[in-house]
C-alpha cells in the first residue's frame, strides 16, 4: 500500500500548458494530411453518392430545369423491381450464377497456369506476355471486334450459341457428340453441364484471368526456395510438395484474387448493364438506383461469405 502511494507521488507532473503538440499528435496530423485527398474524395464521390443512391431508390425523381425534384414513395420501386419488372430478377440470378462459376474456374485456371508459367523453359517471358495480353486488349470495342474475328477464324458460321460453336469449331469436334456420349455413360447431367460450360467458356476464362495469373506468378516467386529444398530432402513427392508447400504459401493470394475476380466479373455482368440502361437510356433514375443497390448488396453479401469461408482455411506464413 505504502509503495503504491509513493509511486503515485513520484509520478512526474504533467506540464501545465503544452506549448507544442506532442510527437504523436504531430504524426497524426501529418498522417491525416497525407490521406486527406482520398478522404475528401471518398466523402464526395462515394459516401455522398451512396446516400444519394439510397435516397433516389425511395423516391420518384423528376428532372426539372437545372436539377431534379424528388418525392418520397417508400418501397414502391423495390416492390416493382422484385415483383413486376420483366428481367431484373432473372438478370440478377444469372449474373450471380455466372459470377460464381466463373470465379471458381478463373482461380483454378490462373493458379494452374501460374504454376506452368513459373517453371523454367525457353520462351517463358514471351508466353507470360501473351497471357497478359487480354488485360491490355480489354476494351469494349476491341472485345466486340475480337469476338467477331474469332468467329471468322472459326469458319464464319452463324451458330445458335456462339460459345458452343466456338468450342466446337476449335478442333472441328462436335461438342454435342461428347455430351451424348458421356450422358450415355450415366454421368449426372448437372456435372456434365458444368464441365461443358467450363470448356465452352474457355475464352472468357482466359480473358478474365490475366491479372490473377500475374499475381499468382508473383506469389510463387516469393516462396522461399529453402522450403522446397527441405521438402526434397524429406522425400516429398511433387504432389505432396504442391499441397504442403506451394498451396499453403499461395493461399493468402487466393483471397485477393477471389475478391478481384468477383468485382471484375460484377462490373461486366448483365445486371450492371441493366441498371446503366435503365438510368441513361430509359431515364428511370429511381428504378436504376434500386437495381444498382440490390445487385451491390447481393454481391457484397456473397463476397463476405466467400472471403470469410476462405480466410478461415488460409495459411499465413508470418
Amino acid at each position: 500500500m505504502e509503495l503504491t502511494k509513493t509511486a503515485k507521488a513520484v509520478k512526474p507532473p504533467k506540464p501545465a500548458k503544452p506549448s507544442r503538440l506532442s510527437l504523436s499528435q504531430k504524426q497524426a496530423i501529418k498522417g491525416l494530411l497525407f490521406i486527406s485527398p482520398f478522404v475528401v474524395g471518398f466523402m464526395i464521390f462515394y459516401l455522398r453518392s451512396l446516400v444519394m443512391t439510397i435516397q433516389f431508390s425511395f423516391s420518384d425523381i423528376e428532372v426539372i430545369d437545372g436539377g431534379y425534384s424528388s418525392t418520397f414513395v417508400g418501397f414502391k420501386h423495390y416492390i416493382h423491381a422484385l415483383a413486376e419488372h420483366a428481367s431484373f430478377k432473372q438478370d440478377l440470378v444469372t449474373s450471380i450464377m455466372d459470377m460464381v462459376v466463373d470465379v471458381v474456374l478463373i482461380i483454378f485456371f490462373s493458379l494452374f497456369m501460374a504454376i506452368l508459367l513459373n517453371q523454367k523453359f525457353r520462351g517463358r517471358t514471351l508466353s507470360r506476355a501473351v497471357f497478359f495480353l487480354p488485360v491490355i486488349l480489354n476494351s469494349q470495342a476491341i472485345n466486340t471486334a475480337i469476338t467477331m474475328a474469332r468467329q471468322m477464324m472459326m469458319g464464319g458460321m452463324s451458330p445458335v450459341s456462339a460459345d458452343v460453336a466456338e468450342a466446337a469449331a476449335v478442333g472441328t469436334v462436335n461438342v454435342m457428340y461428347y455430351v451424348y456420349m458421356f450422358s450415355d455413360l450415366g454421368l449426372p447431367i448437372g456435372l456434365l453441364d458444368y464441365v461443358i460450360g467450363a470448356v465452352t467458356r474457355i475464352n472468357s476464362i482466359i480473358t478474365a484471368s490475366g491479372v490473377q495469373l500475374i499475381i499468382f506468378i508473383a506469389a510463387l516467386q516469393s516462396i522461399p526456395p529453402s522450403l522446397y529444398e527441405v521438402a526434397k530432402i524429406e522425400g516429398a513427392t511433387p504432389y505432396e510438395t504442391f499441397w504442403k508447400v506451394t498451396f499453403p504459401m499461395v493461399s493468402p493470394l487466393i483471397v485477393t484474387n477471389v475478391v478481384y475476380s468477383f468485382v471484375d466479373s460484377f462490373i461486366n455482368s448483365s445486371v450492371v448493364n441493366l441498371s446503366y440502361e435503365t438510368i441513361f437510356r430509359n431515364l428511370n433514375f429511381a428504378l436504376g438506383s434500386v437495381f444498382s443497390l440490390l445487385s451491390m448488396l447481393v454481391v457484397c453479401l456473397l463476397l463476405f461469405i466467400t472471403v470469410s469461408i476462405i480466410s478461415k482455411r488460409t495459411f499465413y506464413y508470418n
Binding site: Q27, A28, I29, K30, G31, L32, F34, I35, P37, F38, V39, V40, G41, F42, I44, F45, Y46, S49, L50, M52, T53, G67, L117, Q119, F121, S127, A129, V130, F131, P134, V135, I136, L137, S139, Q140, A141, I142, A145, A149, R150, M153, V170, I206, T207, I214, I217, A218, Q221, S222, L253, T256, V259, I267, V272, S275, I279, G288, S292, M296, C300
Partner: protein
C-alpha cells in the same frame, strides 16, 4: 573358387543396381519428356486461343475487296493493300486523337501515382485516429465498383458546384459585380457548371484519389511502404530531413516496383476505359476506344461503303492502330512489370 563366386555375385549385384538406376533414369527422363510435351501443348494451345483472333484481325486488315471474297484466301492476302489503314487514319483523325489520348492517359497516370502513393504512405507510416475506418473505406472503394453509384457521380458533374463556390462565381459574373447580391442568393445552390463532355471530371476524381481503380493502387502502395524498413526514415529524420523531403527523395525512389506496377495498370485501364468515358460523355476526340466504336458507321455513311463485310475491315485496321501503342509500351515495360508485381507488395 569360393572367392570367385563371391566376386561374380558382387559383379552381378553391381550390374543389377546399375540396371535399376538406369531404368529409373530412363523412367524419370521419359516422365520429364512427357511433362514437357504436355506443358508445351497446353501453353501453345491456350496462346492460340488468345492470339488467334488477333492474327485474324491483323491479316484481315490488309485484305483488298477481292481477297475478302476470294474463297482460296484464308490468312495471307493475294493483293495486300494499305487502303484500310489510310481511310481508318483519316476517319478517326488518328494521329491527333492519339496525341490527345496519350496526353490524357499520361497526365492521369501521373496524378494517380502521386495521389495514391501519398495516401498509401499516409496509411502505412502514420498513426492517427479512425485509421482503421478510413482504410475500410479504401477496401469499400475496391469492392464497390463506381458502377453502383454512377448516377450521383454523373449528377455531381452535370451541375458542378462544390460548396456553392462555382455557383457564387457564376452569380457574380451574371450580376456584373458583387453589389446587389445578398449572401443567401450568392450561395443559392443553382448555377453550377456542366462539366460533362470534357475530361475535367476524370481529373477531379483522380486528384481526389477516386480515379479509375484508385482503391487498388492505394492498397498496393500501402502494402509496399509497410514492407520497407522504418530505419530508413529514422535515419533521414536524424539527418534533418522533413517529412515532405523524406517522402519525395527517399520513399518514392524506393517504391519503384510499385510505381511500375501501378503505371502499367493505370495506363492500360485508363486507355481501355469506356465506362467513365461514356458516363462523363468525354468526346471521341480524346478517347480512342470511343472513336473506334463509331468508325464502322462513319466509314459506311461518309465513304458509302455499305457492304458490312468490307467496312468491318476498316474496324480491324483501326483496332490494330489503337492497340499498337499500348502493345509497344507493354513490350518495353513488361520486363520490369512482372518483377515489379513480385516486389510491389500485392503479394504482401
Amino acid at each position: 573358387m569360393k572367392s570367385n563366386s563371391l566376386t561374380a555375385k558382387i559383379k552381378n549385384m553391381r550390374s543389377d543396381t546399375r540396371l535399376a538406376n538406369e531404368g529409373r533414369r530412363v523412367l524419370r527422363q521419359s516422365k520429364n519428356l512427357l511433362f514437357v510435351i504436355f506443358r508445351t501443348a497446353i501453353i501453345i494451345g491456350l496462346s492460340y486461343v488468345i492470339l488467334g483472333p488477333l492474327i485474324g484481325i491483323l491479316a484481315n486488315s490488309f485484305f483488298s475487296n477481292a481477297d475478302k471474297y476470294s474463297p482460296v484466301v484464308y490468312l495471307i492476302p493475294q493483293e495486300p493493300t494499305l487502303e484500310r489503314y489510310r481511310l481508318a487514319i483519316i476517319r478517326m483523325d488518328f494521329w491527333n486523337t492519339l496525341l490527345r489520348m496519350l496526353a490524357y492517359v499520361a497526365s492521369l497516370t501521373l496524378i494517380q501515382i502521386f495521389i495514391c502513393s501519398l495516401v498509401g504512405y499516409g496509411f502505412a507510416r502514420f498513426k492517427f485516429p479512425l485509421k482503421k475506418l478510413f482504410f475500410a473505406c479504401v477496401i469499400i472503394m475496391i469492392v464497390i465498383p463506381s458502377h453502383s453509384v454512377m448516377l450521383p457521380i454523373y449528377m455531381t458533374f452535370q451541375n458542378f458546384n462544390p460548396l456553392g463556390i462555382v455557383g457564387a462565381v457564376n452569380n457574380i459574373r451574371a450580376n456584373g459585380g458583387l453589389s446587389g447580391l445578398s449572401l443567401s442568393s450568392l450561395f443559392s445552390g443553382g448555377g453550377g457548371i456542366n462539366l460533362l463532355g470534357t475530361p475535367i471530371p476524370m481529373y477531379i476524381m483522380t486528384l481526389l484519389g477516386c480515379g479509375l481503380r484508385a482503391g487498388l493502387y492505394i492498397y498496393i502502395f500501402n502494402q509496399f511502404f509497410r514492407g520497407l524498413p522504418k530505419e530508413i526514415e529514422e535515419a533521414a529524420a536524424i539527418d534533418g530531413a522533413g517529412t515532405i523531403y523524406t517522402y519525395f527523395r527517399i520513399m518514392l525512389p524506393n517504391a519503384m516496383p510499385s510505381i511500375i506496377t501501378v503505371t502499367i495498370f493505370s495506363i492500360v485501364w485508363q486507355y481501355n476505359d469506356t465506362f467513365f468515358a461514356n458516363l462523363f460523355m468525354i468526346s471521341p476526340d480524346i478517347v480512342l476506344s470511343k472513336s473506334i466504336a463509331s468508325l464502322q458507321t462513319n466509314v459506311q455513311f461518309l465513304d458509302r461503303i455499305f457492304d458490312p463485310s468490307i467496312s468491318v475491315l476498316y474496324v480491324y485496321a483501326g483496332i490494330i492502330l489503337v492497340i499498337t501503342p499500348i502493345m509497344v509500351l507493354y513490350v518495353l515495360l513488361q520486363k520490369w512489370f512482372i518483377e515489379g508485381v513480385e516486389r510491389s507488395g500485392i503479394v504482401g
